[in-house]
C-alpha cells in the first residue's frame, strides 16, 4: 500500500539571531514513512527532536532540507515546499495535529470548539454536534463543562477537549504530541481506543507517547529519533 506520509532526507536547524546567531541543529536526514492504518511512534529521550519533527511534518516549523510528502488523493503534496494556501488546504482535508496545549480564542464554549473542528473539515453542523457530544462523553469531560470556555479547565480537561478536536474529523494523517501526558488511567485507555478506531478506518498516525503502557498498546513500529540526531 502507498504510504500516507513519507519523510525523505529531512533536516532542520534553528538560528537564534538574538543569541549571537547560535545555530542549534535539530535533526538530519530523517527518512521513514507511515502507511494508512499504521501507528508509528517516535522514540528517544526528551530533547532529541521528536516534537520538532511533528511540527515539521505539520508545516508549523520550516523544513530546511528534504521532503515531507503527504498523500492527497492522486497526488503527494510536499509540506516543505508547498505554498501557504496549498498547505492550509492539506491541513483542512488530510493532515491534523493534536498539540500538547489548547490554543483557542478565549470565551468560546468547549463543545463549539469541537464542533467547529468538524465543520472546518466539511462535516455538516448537526452531524458535527453529534460527533462532538459523543467524543466529549467518551473522554469523560463532564457535560456541565461543555458550554463553558476551556480556559478555566484543568490541564487534563483541556487536553481532552484538544483530543476531541483532533479526532472529531476524518483526516488521513493524524499527528499526536503526547496526547495522554496529563490523563489518568481511565482516560488513557479511552485515548488508546480512539487511536485503535482511527487505525481501523485507515488513518495513518504519527505520535509521541511517553507512557510506556500506552505506547506498547498503540505502536505498530517505533522510529528512534536518536539515529537522526544532527551533529552540532
Amino acid at each position: 500500500m502507498e504510504p500516507a506520509l513519507t519523510l525523505t532526507g529531512v533536516g532542520k536547524s534553528f538560528t537564534m539571531h538574538l543569541q549571537g546567531g547560535t545555530r542549534i541543529p535539530v535533526v538530519e536526514n530523517v527518512t521513514f514513512s507511515v502507511a494508512p492504518g499504521e501507528c508509528v511512534v517516535l522514540g528517544g529521550p526528551s530533547g532529541v527532536g521528536k516534537s520538532s519533527l511533528l511540527k515539521i511534518v505539520y508545516g508549523n516549523y520550516r523544513c530546511d532540507h528534504g521532503a515531507v510528502l503527504v498523500r492527497d488523493g492522486a497526488v503527494a503534496v510536499d509540506v516543505a515546499t508547498a505554498l501557504p494556501r496549498r498547505l492550509l488546504r492539506l491541513r483542512k482535508t488530510r493532515l491534523a495535529y493534536v498539540s500538547q496545549f489548547l490554543r483557542v480564542i478565549p470565551r468560546v464554549a468547549a463543545i463549539d470548539l469541537v464542533i467547529q473542528a468538524a465543520v472546518d473539515f466539511g462535516v455538516d453542523r448537526d452531524e458535527a454536534a453529534g460527533r462532538a457530544r459523543a467524543l466529549l462523553s467518551r473522554l469523560n469531560v463532564p457535560e456541565r463543562l461543555w458550554t463553558l470556555a476551556p480556559s478555566t479547565f484543568s490541564g487534563g480537561e483541556q487536553q481532552r477537549v484538544n483530543i476531541a478536536r483532533g479526532f472529531v474529523a476524518d483526516h488521513d494523517v493524524l499527528l499526536l504530541d503526547e496526547p495522554t501526558a496529563s490523563l489518568d488511567a481511565v482516560n488513557r485507555a479511552a485515548v488508546v481506543e480512539l487511536v485503535d478506531a482511527k487505525k481501523r478506518r485507515g488513518t495513518a498516525i504519527l505520535g509521541i507517547f511517553h507512557d510506556e503502557d500506552v505506547r506498547d498498546r498503540v505502536a505498530d513500529r517505533i522510529v528512534d529519533v536518536t539515529r537522526f540526531a544532527a551533529a552540532a
Binding site: 502507498e2 538574538l18 511540527k55 520550516r62 492522486a74 501557504p84 492550509l88
Partner: protein
C-alpha cells in the same frame, strides 16, 4: 501498480481544472512603493491574496503597515507599483486606473474598511439602523421596510440588541460601535475587507468577543481580509498568512503559525520573543 495508473486523463484534467480555478488571485499587488519626501513609507511590496484568505500585516509603529493599507484601499496614491483586483465578472482590473466614480462604487459595495476608531467609519449622529442601511442604499436598495429588516438582521449578527436600532452610535460603548462598524461594512456582502487594528482601542474583555465574532463572520461569508495589527495574538487567532514589515519593507512572509513559531529573520525573532506571556 500505483493508484495513479488507474486515473484517466479526464480525472487528471478535472483535478487540474479545479486547481486552476483556485489559482486565480482576488488581489494582486506588485512593487507597491510610496515615499514621504525622502522617507520611505512603503517600498516594493508584492503579494497575492486569494478568496477566503486572511492576511495579517504586522510590524511596529513606522514599519509602513498603515501606509500599505492606505495604498491598498486607494486612500493614498502610490509612487510606483500596481494593484489588480478580480471584479465579480472575473476580470482582473488595474485599480489605480479606475475612474473615481468606479472606484468609489467598488469601495461602497465590494470592499469594506474597518477603522480602528469606529467614529471614522460610522456616522455618529444618525441611528444604528441608518448607518447599516446607508450602504444598502448605495447599492440601489430603496424599499424602506426591506432596508430596515436587513439592518435589523445585521445588528443581530453582530450581537447588538434590535431595540437599539434607532439609537445613534454616540450612545454606544466602544465595543458596540466597533461591531456596528463591522455590520455597516458587511451588509453589502463585500468580498474584500481591510481592517486597521480592529480590536485596538477596546478593553481586553471586549476584544475576545469581537475576535470570536470576526472569525465566525469571516469564515461564514468566505471573506478575504487584509488586517493590519501590531498585536501578534490577534494575528495568530484571525489570520492564515502573515507579512512582517520593517522600515517600509516586507522582511518575512509565510503561514501565520510558521512565522510565529519558527521565525527566521532577526527582527521577527525579536518581535515574537518580546511578547509578554500571561
Amino acid at each position: 501498480m500505483s493508484a495513479e495508473a488507474f486515473l484517466t486523463a479526464e480525472d487528471l484534467l478535472t483535478a487540474e481544472g479545479l486547481l486552476a480555478a483556485d489559482d486565480l488571485p482576488l488581489l494582486r499587488v506588485e512593487g507597491l512603493t510610496r515615499y514621504y519626501g525622502h522617507r520611505v513609507g512603503c517600498e516594493d511590496v508584492s503579494f497575492d491574496l486569494y478568496a477566503g484568505e486572511v492576511l495579517a500585516v504586522v510590524g511596529e509603529s513606522g514599519s509602513g503597515k498603515s501606509t500599505l493599507l492606505s495604498l491598498l484601499a486607494a486612500h493614498l496614491a502610490p509612487d510606483a507599483g500596481q494593484i489588480s483586483y478580480r471584479m465579480r465578472d472575473g476580470v482582473l482590473r488595474d485599480i489605480l486606473s479606475l475612474g473615481e466614480a468606479e472606484r468609489r462604487f467598488l469601495m461602497r459595495t465590494d470592499w469594506g474598511f474597518v477603522h480602528q476608531d469606529p467614529s471614522r467609519g460610522l456616522r455618529m449622529g444618525v441611528s444604528a439602523g441608518a448607518n447599516v442601511g446607508e450602504r444598502l442604499m448605495a447599492v440601489g436598495q430603496r424599499h424602506y421596510g426591506q432596508i430596515r429588516g436587513t439592518a435589523l438582521d445585521w445588528l443581530g449578527r453582530v450581537e447588538i440588541d434590535g431595540d437599539r436600532i434607532d439609537d445613534a452610535p454616540r450612545a454606544f460603548s466602544g465595543g458596540m460601535r466597533q461591531r456596528l462598524q463591522i455590520a455597516r461594512n458587511l451588509v453589502t456582502h463585500p468580498r474584500l475587507v481591510f481592517m486597521d487594528e480592529p480590536t485596538g482601542g477596546l478593553d481586553v474583555s471586549v476584544q475576545a468577543r469581537l475576535l470570536d465574532l470576526l472569525r465566525g463572520l469571516v469564515a461564514d461569508l468566505g471573506l478575504s481580509v487584509i488586517i493590519v495589527t501590531h498585536d501578534l495574538a490577534v494575528a495568530r487567532l484571525l489570520s492564515h498568512r502573515l507579512m512582517v514589515m520593517r522600515q517600509g519593507r516586507v522582511i518575512e512572509t509565510g503561514l501565520t503559525d510558521q512565522v510565529l513559531d519558527d521565525p527566521r529573520e532577526p527582527y521577527t525573532q525579536l518581535l515574537v520573543s518580546s511578547v509578554l506571556q500571561v
